[in-house]
């Protein structure tokens, strides 16, 4: 609400400078204070290898030019994308079925909610036993981390399809499958996006945790390896990149929801 008001007001030049003064300045100032405090505390109390803003910034060009870093980032991102895609496909199918078939819903609801509540990290020892110390364990962890929030959200969406839509579909003798794909799926799109937003965050955590646990190459392992060898600045650039991915995805989904589904007000379903 706040945002739409300010966006509307920002069209006139006066409001823009007003917004600059009331929003951007406090934010810039706060950011500066945080960085300054961090710099001072580390300089005063911590050993030289500990990351602080100035040295992290100086490490950025070096790290970005490092092929090992680029490879690690590529590997992790590819794994997250692959795992998310698999979770998305199967999660959507299971979610749609759950939302539209009460029998199926009753049968597996407790398992979906149950697995969603299991802290994803505890399955790592089991997955490493099953899939070995390889990329397969990472993919499996990502899928496990991501799929249940997609199922839960899609099922919510499929349940909340307006009754009139379904009645129209029935009176036109639409088949089960075409109703599901043509009406239920598009109608639960906002829920699906909310699910993806959650799932992406969890998938990223899953990938990093898996890399820590099984020491398979990737961004998480890059952070682990460099911080162990006292290259904290380099490792912290990795953390910054992870944060950028997390925030970037959040913003992307929020933007997509507002752009393509402006009628939908985001609420906190199963988050």
């Amino acid at each position: 609400m706040n945002a739409s008001l300010t966006v509307g007001a920002a069209r006139s030049g006066v409001a823009l400078s007003d917004r600059l003064r009331t929003t951007f300045m406090p934010r810039l100032l706060t950011g500066f204070v945080i960085l300054l405090a961090w710099e001072i505390v580390v300089r005063a109390f911590a050993p030289a290898y500990v990351a602080k803003p100035t040295t992290v910034i100086m490490a950025i060009p070096r790290v970005i030019a490092d092929p090992a870093f680029l490879r690690a980032t590529g590997t992790t991102l590819a794994a997250v994308a692959e795992g998310l895609a698999i979770a998305l496909i199967f999660g959507t199918i299971i979610g749609l079925l759950m939302g539209r078939s009460p029998m199926f819903e009753r049968g597996i609801r407790h398992y979906v909610n149950g697995f969603y509540a299991v802290p994803m990290i505890v399955v790592l020892p089991l997955f490493s036993l099953w899939f070995g110390y390889s990329g397969a364990t990472r993919i499996a962890t990502i899928i496990f981390a991501a799929i249940f929030s997609i199922i839960i959200n899609v099922a919510d969406g499929a349940r909340s399809v307006p009754r009139e839509y379904m009645e129209v579909a029935r009176s036109f003798r639409s088949g089960r499958l075409s109703t599901l794909v043509g009406i239920v799926l598009p109608s639960s799109m906002p829920y699906l996006l909310a699910g993806i937003r959650l799932a992406a965050g969890r998938a990223l955590i899953g990938a990093v945790v898996a890399e820590f646990f099984i020491s398979v190459g990737g961004l998480g392992y890059y952070i682990l390896y460099n911080s162990r060898s006292y290259h904290h600045n380099e490792a912290f650039v990795g953390v910054l990149l992870l944060a950028a991915f997390g925030v970037g995805f959040e913003l992307l989904v929020t933007w997509a929801t507002q752009r393509f589904m402006p009628w939908y007000r985001r609420d906190e379903k199963a988050s």
Partner: protein
Amino acid sequence: MENIRRHAPFWTSILAGIALWEIAGRSTSKAFMVPLSETLVRLWQLVSGGQFITQLIDSTILFLSGFVLALVVGMPLGLLLARVRVLRIGIEPYIMILYATPMVALIPFILSLMGFGFAPKVLVVFLFAVFPVLYNTVEGARSIKPELIEVAKSYRSSEWALWREVMLPYTLPYTMTGVRQAIGRALVGMVAAEFFLSSTGLGQLIMGASQNFDTAGVFASILVIGLIGVGLMRLGLKIEQHFARWRN
């Protein structure tokens, strides 16, 4: 009778799950999967061995320390941000960034700076749990219409009355959504701390079992942590729903 009919689908699906687990466990290699019956036998051995109980207590203390610390810091800070608008606008984006950052990535730094004690593990649980509380409280603060505060002020409302009538009723429901999220995250943080920092508690139980190729032990500990997760999630939902009645 009514009760039985209402709960029949639940028990059918639970029984089917148990049967599926048992059959799958019996028809695959012991190294990969263990039937439920064996898992329960192993769990009983662990419990009667006594070491399980101390590990459970260790984990509980870790969880509660980090979680309570997150509440003690997160709730007052969130409410302060809700009241002082300039502060909120300034800090908001940074809270959002930290909320979206995978906190696990900080564990290697915490390890190398703070070592293997109890404090670094509490810090991990705290970092996992505090940002959902802050983020949601700030979200709640944003939902308060500025006019409400202006009206209260123009009627010369005292600070205390403003808090009681406007600030708390509007932000607490959001805070409680954050508390529910924080419970789930704190549990992940607890296990992550026990895996990657000094190995104690339920995390140590799983790690030990997996290193000894004790698949039944792995399943038993996952079952226990899973049930704890489900229970805590239920509790979180109860708390959230209790306060959701205030939301309008």
